[in-house]
Symmetry: C2
Subunit: 349 residues, 2 copies
Amino acid sequence: MDKSRNRRPTIIDVAEHAGVSKSTVARVLAGSSSISEDARDRVMKAVAATGYERNHLAVGMRSGRSGLLGIVIPDITNPFWAGVARGAQDRAAEHNISLLVFSSDWDAGKEARHLRALRQARVDGAIINPVADNFDDLSRFGLPFVFIGSSAERFSDVSSVGSDIAQAVRLGMEHLFSRGHTRPAFILGPRSRLARARFLRTVHDFCVERDIDPAVLAMEDAEYTVEGGKAAMERLLARRGRGYLSVFAANDLMALGAMMAVREAGLSCPEDVSILGFDGIPAGAFAWPGLTTIEKPSREIGVRAVDCLLDEIAGRPEHGRVYMPCRLIERGSLADLTATAPKMVAAGR
Amino acid sequence: MDKSRNRRPTIIDVAEHAGVSKSTVARVLAGSSSISEDARDRVMKAVAATGYERNHLAVGMRSGRSGLLGIVIPDITNPFWAGVARGAQDRAAEHNISLLVFSSDWDAGKEARHLRALRQARVDGAIINPVADNFDDLSRFGLPFVFIGSSAERFSDVSSVGSDIAQAVRLGMEHLFSRGHTRPAFILGPRSRLARARFLRTVHDFCVERDIDPAVLAMEDAEYTVEGGKAAMERLLARRGRGYLSVFAANDLMALGAMMAVREAGLSCPEDVSILGFDGIPAGAFAWPGLTTIEKPSREIGVRAVDCLLDEIAGRPEHGRVYMPCRLIERGSLADLTATAPKMVAAGR
DNA sequence: ATGAAAGCGCTAACAA
DNA sequence: TTGTTAGCGCTTTCAT
C-alpha cells in the first residue's frame, strides 16, 4: 500500500517512525522540557527522515493560535506604507509568524471587507491604519489590534504607533532657522486632516518661543499631491514680496510639486527659493536638486507595531500611543543663508 | 450558563438557532443548490442573528483548501514589486482569498525560510520570484506555484509570467529611431543577468533589420543601481566622439544615475544628451527633466500571476510562459532630433 | 516521562 | 432535501 504517497507526513507518521506516541512528538515539537534525551533524539531524526512539516491549520484550530497576523494599510504601492509593511513583515518573521497584507485605498467598504477576511482567517491580531470614521466595526472587532499612522489618534483608547509629528516639525523649524530661514512659508495639507492641526500647533509653539507672531507667516492649504503642492507654490510665488522665499511643505509630494512650480516660474531652487519636505520618499532623492526633507521611520513603525501587537496578544500591559522620532535628510533644496556669500549646500542626491 | 459568552459562534450555534442540522448550514454556506427556500432563509437569518463568521482554519483543515495564497518577491519596498503584490492582492481578494506576502531580499536562505512558512501555513499555491539557483527546494515544493519576473525563465518547465522584454526593447528602439537617435549607446545590466541577454538579442535583431552593425553601438555594463548608471554614463561621456549622445539604459535607476552624471559633467539633458529608461518607477516622473521610459506592467503581472495560479490549482491546463506587454511613457529626457530646429519635446513630469 | 483519548469547527460521504 | 457520522492533524487533559 502506498498510503504515504503524495500525502504530507503528519505527526502520526513521525510518531510511528520514531516508535513513540503522538503526544510525545507534539511535546518535542512544542519544546516541552519533560522529555527524555532519547525520545527527543528519535523524534528529531524521524522528523528529518519523513520530511515532516507542522500543519499550522491544525495547530491553529486546536490551540486557537493561527500564527497569522494581518495588516491593513491604505496602499502597499505607496513607499511609506510599503516600508511599514516591510518592517512588520520582518519582525513577524522573527517570531515565525506570517503576515496577511491588505490595501484599503482609504475606502471604508474595502476596509470592512478586509477586516472580515482577517477574522475569517483567524489571525491572532491585526495592525490597522483606520479609514472608517464609524468605528463600530473596529470596536467590536473582537481581536487584538493596534493602530498605525496619525489618523489613529482619533481613537484615544486604542494603542497605536505613528511618527512623532511634533518632534519632526520642530526639527524642521530648527533646521530652517539655523540656516537663516526665519520667516518660512508653509504648504499645509487639507484642513480636514488631523495631522495638519498637529503640524500647525508645533509651528505656533516654536514661533512663540522665538517671539515671532505666527500670523506673519504665509500659509497655503493644498491637497497632499504633486499638483496640490504646485498650485500652492504658484500662489505663494504670486504674492511673495521682495526677497528670498523659503517653504516648508507638509509632505514630499507637495514639496516636489512646489519645486516644479519654481522651475516653471523661471526661478531656481535653492538659488531663489528653498524647499523643505516631509516624509522621506525615495523620489526626493532623484529630484534636482535633491529634496531636503524630514524622514518618517516607516520601517520602524511597522516593527514597533508588531511588538505592540504581540504584547497585546500576550495580554501584556498596553502601550498607549507610541511616537517614533523622525530625522532630517539634508540634500540640496535648502540654501544656507547664513554663509557670508550665500553659499549653497552641496547638492547630493 | 454563558457558554456563548466571549466565544465566536460556530456552525452549530447557527444550526440550533435556525432549527436545522450542521450540514444544512454548511450547505447553505457553500451555496449548494439542493436546499429548500425555507431552510436557506432561516439559516441566513440565523447567521445574521448570531454574527457567525466562517472559520477558515477549520474549513481548510477539513477541505484541504486554506483560502490562502503566498507571494515571495525580492522586496515589497521596491515600487515594481509593490505593484506586483498589489495586483496579486486585488485579484485574490476578488476570489475571497487572502495573500501572505514575503520579501526575500534576493537571499536564498530567506527564500527557503519563506517557502517553509508557506508550506506550514498550507497555502493553496504560491507566486514566486525565484532567487535560488539551486532549485531543488522549489521543484519538490509540493504545491502549485507560478514564477514571476525574468529570472523565472531559467526554469523552462514551470509556468510563469513576466514582462515582454523583447517587445519592450523593440518599442524603445523604434522610439529612439523615430526621434532621430539612430546610433544609441546602451547601459546594460551585469553580464550575469538573464534579462541582459534578452535585451541585447532584441537590439541585435533590430539592428540587423535596419542594416546596422551592432558592433558600432557603444555599450557599458553596470550594476542595476543609480551609482552603476552614473559611472557607466561617465565612461560613455569620456569616450564619446563629437556629436549628440543618446543612451538607452536597461533600468530606470541606472537612467537616473546617468542623468546625474550628465548634470555633473556640466551638460544638460536633453539638450546635450538624451536618455531613455526602462521600468517605469515613480521617481522617474519627479526627475528633471522627467524620465522618458518604458513601463513594465507590474500590477498586471500580479493579476495574471494569480489567474495562472488559480488555474494551476484547479488543475486546468498550464499557461506556459506569459509575456505582458510594456508601454512607452514620454517625458522630457529624450529630444526630438527630427525637428527642423532641434526642438525638445515638452518636458512634463 | 509517556500514552490514551477527547475534541477544536468544519466538510463529505452515506443514509434516510 | 435533510440528518448522521466520521474524521482532517493537532494540542491537551488525565491517567499511568
